[in-house]
């Protein structure tokens, strides 16, 4: 089973890396970019199990390690 966990910075948390990328996009002449926030994507394969079990497992993975919930949100997608 394939799944994806997406980790993003909570709103209000300063993201200097996103800001630098935003500046670089502007300097490339890409007009219309008003803001960039950088996050992380984890593509994970899970052995067997059903969807609900996989979701619960990934939630645990995100809470325990993949995200720092002080500053980050996460989203779990089981892709099947």
């Amino acid at each position: 089973m394939k799944a994806r966990v997406t980790v993003t910075l909570k709103s209000g948390i300063l993201d200097p890396q996103g800001k630098a990328i935003e500046g670089a996009l502007r300097s490339l002449g890409l007009v219309g970019v008003s803001s960039v926030r950088q996050g992380k994507v984890f593509d994970i394969e899970i052995d067997g199990g059903d969807r609900a079990t996989a979701e619960a497992l990934l939630k645990q993975a995100a809470d325990k390690l993949l995200a720092n919930t002080v500053i980050e949100n996460y989203k779990v997608d089981v892709l099947g």
Binding site: I13, L14, P16, Q17, A20, K64, L65, L66, N68, V70, I71
Partner: protein, 233 residues
């Protein structure tokens, strides 16, 4: 002093730390590998040194914080044992939940490697008894992620309970954005946990302890710790 210095893959300041502990206390610390499940018997100070554990993969300190030895450190700290985390050690303590908050990328996006001035906010702790409250000390920093933040409620608690032990300041002790090198909230350079036995700080006091190298302002922290432990013994 029976110190244990934790060693994770990618840590590179453990020998500086061990050298300083030996210099101040006259006793070699134990170097404890991250895969160990227990601290040496009789350990009375755990030090998590600086470096780049696991190459800063995922988030600084995130993977080290979940290693087997950290369960032992958590249990030891729960019983009131003294823990000092420096630089990456501070990041690891935050990731391990032993200290609140997070160390974010420096505000100016640069790796900062230079001497800084710190104001010691309190002298009535085992970590700062070798200093006077309000004293300014000069110690080095070397980090890319030292910009401390936490939610407003946590910051209010840290400040209200006097748990900010070190702040970045000007040479004459003023809190000034120009001297807050990494952009940390309230110029926070080091904080205590709620029981006062776990300290995390970004600067490296262990690197300023010998006159041959330069300033010796870092000695006070280790000498104070040694004295506190002697008294407790």
């Amino acid at each position: 002093m029976k110190a244990a210095v934790l060693v994770f893959p990618g840590i590179n300041r453990e020998r500086d730390m061990a050298r300083t502990l030996r210099l101040i206390s006259g006793r070699d610390p134990a170097l404890v590998w991250h895969a160990e499940k227990e601290l040496p018997a009789g350990t009375d100070l755990v030090v998590i040194p600086g470096g780049f554990s696991y190459g800063d993969y995922l988030r600084c300190g995130a993977i080290a914080a979940r290693s087997p030895i950290m369960d032992a450190v958590r249990a030891y700290a729960g019983k009131g044992g003294l823990v000092l985390g420096v630089c990456n050690g501070f990041q690891i303590l935050c990731e391990a939940g032993l200290l609140p908050g997070v160390l974010m990328r420096n505000e100016n996006l640069r790796f900062i490697c230079r001497d800084v001035y710190l104001r010691v906010e309190r002298s009535d702790t085992p970590f700062t008894r070798g200093y006077n409250a309000g004293q300014v000390v000069r110690v080095p920093v070397a980090h890319g992620e030292g910009n401390y933040i936490a939610d407003g409620e946590t910051i209010a608690r840290l400040e209200g309970e006097g748990r900010v032990l070190f702040r970045y300041c000007s040479p004459d002790g003023m809190i000034d954005p120009n001297w807050n090198h990494n952009g940390a909230i309230n110029a926070i350079a080091g904080i205590l946990n709620e029981h006062g036995n776990v300290l995390g700080m970004m600067p490296h006091p262990e690197n300023h302890v010998e006159a041959a190298i330069g300033p010796t302002d870092g000695r006070g922290l280790f000498a104070g710790l040694a004295e506190a432990l002697e008294r407790a013994a």
